[in-house]
Symmetry: C2
Subunit: 372 residues, 2 copies
Amino acid sequence: MTSDCQKLSSVLQLWDKSLIVEGQRQMRNTQTMPELELQSPGKQPTIRDVAELAGVATSTVSRALTNPGRVNHVTRERIEEAAAQLNYIPSSQARGLSSGRTQTVAVLVPDITNPFYFDIIRGTQHQLKAAGYTQLLVDTEESADMEADALQKMRRSADGFILAASRLTDEQLTEAAAQQPLVTINRAPAIAPTVVIDTPSAIIQALEHLVSLGHTKICFVGGPATSWSNAKRWQAFQVETKERELTTSSVGPFAPKTTSGAAAADAAVHTGATACIVFNDLLAIGMLQRLRERGIRVPEDMSIVGCDDIFGADFCNPPLTTMASPIEQAGRVAVSMLLSRLNPQYGGTSRRLAVMPTHLTVRASTGAAPAH
Amino acid sequence: MTSDCQKLSSVLQLWDKSLIVEGQRQMRNTQTMPELELQSPGKQPTIRDVAELAGVATSTVSRALTNPGRVNHVTRERIEEAAAQLNYIPSSQARGLSSGRTQTVAVLVPDITNPFYFDIIRGTQHQLKAAGYTQLLVDTEESADMEADALQKMRRSADGFILAASRLTDEQLTEAAAQQPLVTINRAPAIAPTVVIDTPSAIIQALEHLVSLGHTKICFVGGPATSWSNAKRWQAFQVETKERELTTSSVGPFAPKTTSGAAAADAAVHTGATACIVFNDLLAIGMLQRLRERGIRVPEDMSIVGCDDIFGADFCNPPLTTMASPIEQAGRVAVSMLLSRLNPQYGGTSRRLAVMPTHLTVRASTGAAPAH
DNA sequence: CAATTTTTGGCAATCGCTTGTCATCCCTAT
DNA sequence: ATAGGGATGACAAGCGATTGCCAAAAATTG
């Protein structure tokens, strides 16, 4: 225990000399320090303070700040100056309460740690901020129930929703869409406005690529059963392979995580296929690892095509051939679609469907079919 | 153009048969569909409706819902039942307005697409949700100004802040900490309550590891100049290498992104070192790529140690030896520290510092020093 | 059984802002 | 010069909860 403390204090030393003494009486990795009080926010200036300082009525201040055209130019400047001087920030709560709008959009994703969604999130965040909206990020943990729940619980606190790769059933989705404005990403159009990443057409490219390399036995490695994207990719795969008279197989469903890759790889190998089209990159990367462990060479013995071109697809081993999607842009477009509904006055044609093009990015995980 | 449309419509077919007709008159990747109206949320039930249905006063409803002990058990059940029946959700806006609390915590991270922060975010999200708080995620884009700005703008809409790897100056941080409750992650203690990931002691482990492999010329590859973590790692590196009488060098600062890896790799190679301790995994992975391009073998010619053990560190090529951090846990602890300040009644000892242990994870990017 | 304490529940003010209504003022056009 | 009209700004009523204060009811005590 003593040596523990000493070791730890020597570590603390590296952070801050002043901590050494404290460090000696600390317990494990926790330490109570002299209480430096943590301020609670003092009284904040209100619209009334600003009005007073500017010598106008509060309503004038409100209009000057939210509806600038409604107020005299010079008066408005005076008000803005006063506001700045007082460091005034309107309370979004009060604002929302009386106006009925929250200026907030909730973005629901199935798994916050899946890199695919990072880019979506970044796209939505960017576009929302530009429009003066706040983004509320929700991780629904791949669960339709949690998704429905969040949708319910937050209906008062968000003006609209963006559902990325929703796991809801069509019924649930229809119901949700009737309750509040929402836009889906990668989900059947018609139920709600949707941004679709055109992976089916990328599947065609991927198949052509594999065929050109001599592959004839191709396996589809499926993702989550409740994923609409997965269904569409599978559908495209079936249609296109039939047209080309290829020998196909499929395995799955698998969770879209690298940890599912081992099972997926084993199953795919077992089918005798020489190439796999995999639901997404996460799964594909997991497969790559497993295949190496088993001594199955990629791409000499087995070619792998992923989907999404996420972070990591370029530096895994071997780098992954994948169907690249403009993910961040999809997030942005989804926000535009939602906002144009939320604020019809600013119009823009209210599209109900946006299709994002994709393309195949060939790296090292695909190669000529093995000569048997 | 016609062929464009045809190609596209054949793609649409894969999504939804009902879209084929629509598909034919679509423009490029956009399409306007018959307007299926997007509901605006109807009248929401208020606390008054619940009170009426339950046959009590609104204040009773309010108490029953927020302060259950204050109300008769059976009455409360009746109220809860009524609330459930009406599908009542309290308006967080109105609640916040009158109570002064928002039940929201803002989490500020420098780069939302940096995997290091994913885990932080997931940790905070998890813990906040468990406590009934909402997380507001903000990407400050590695900018101290944006960070300060967000802190200002959101002071009304969040009860507290968590600053992950803040880029603020000490002065800015001190000022911010005086204005609102906040907890920092990986930042100097003393200014504000902090969760520190103990990378300095991991640096010791890393150095011992490298020394045991025979390395004597070691280069520190630095991260952002405004990063406190970077400063501390550098400091630890200096102290420990001096004690061991190693030949050292340093390069940087570099942005903590894979794209900076090329410059970092070239610079590090130029110093003649046989091993690098790199600010973080992102940079290290970028270096790995560059080194391969240049035909410098890892670890035969050069050993690389990263930091953080982020997503990707295990499947890059070669898999990265790195100093692993309990990142998600750091996020969770930060939230606990913040909440125990926000709600002193629920107490818990208000720690001002939590130190998260780290350890070295050895993979394939480190090996014996080259015989010269 | 009366007196006292403890629960329980209702009233009404309040939070900070938006917004409908209306009075005022200044221009313009006749 | 004066009526008509458009800008501009003041007033006050909410928005939907919370909460301090107090009254009524119930439980406890002697």
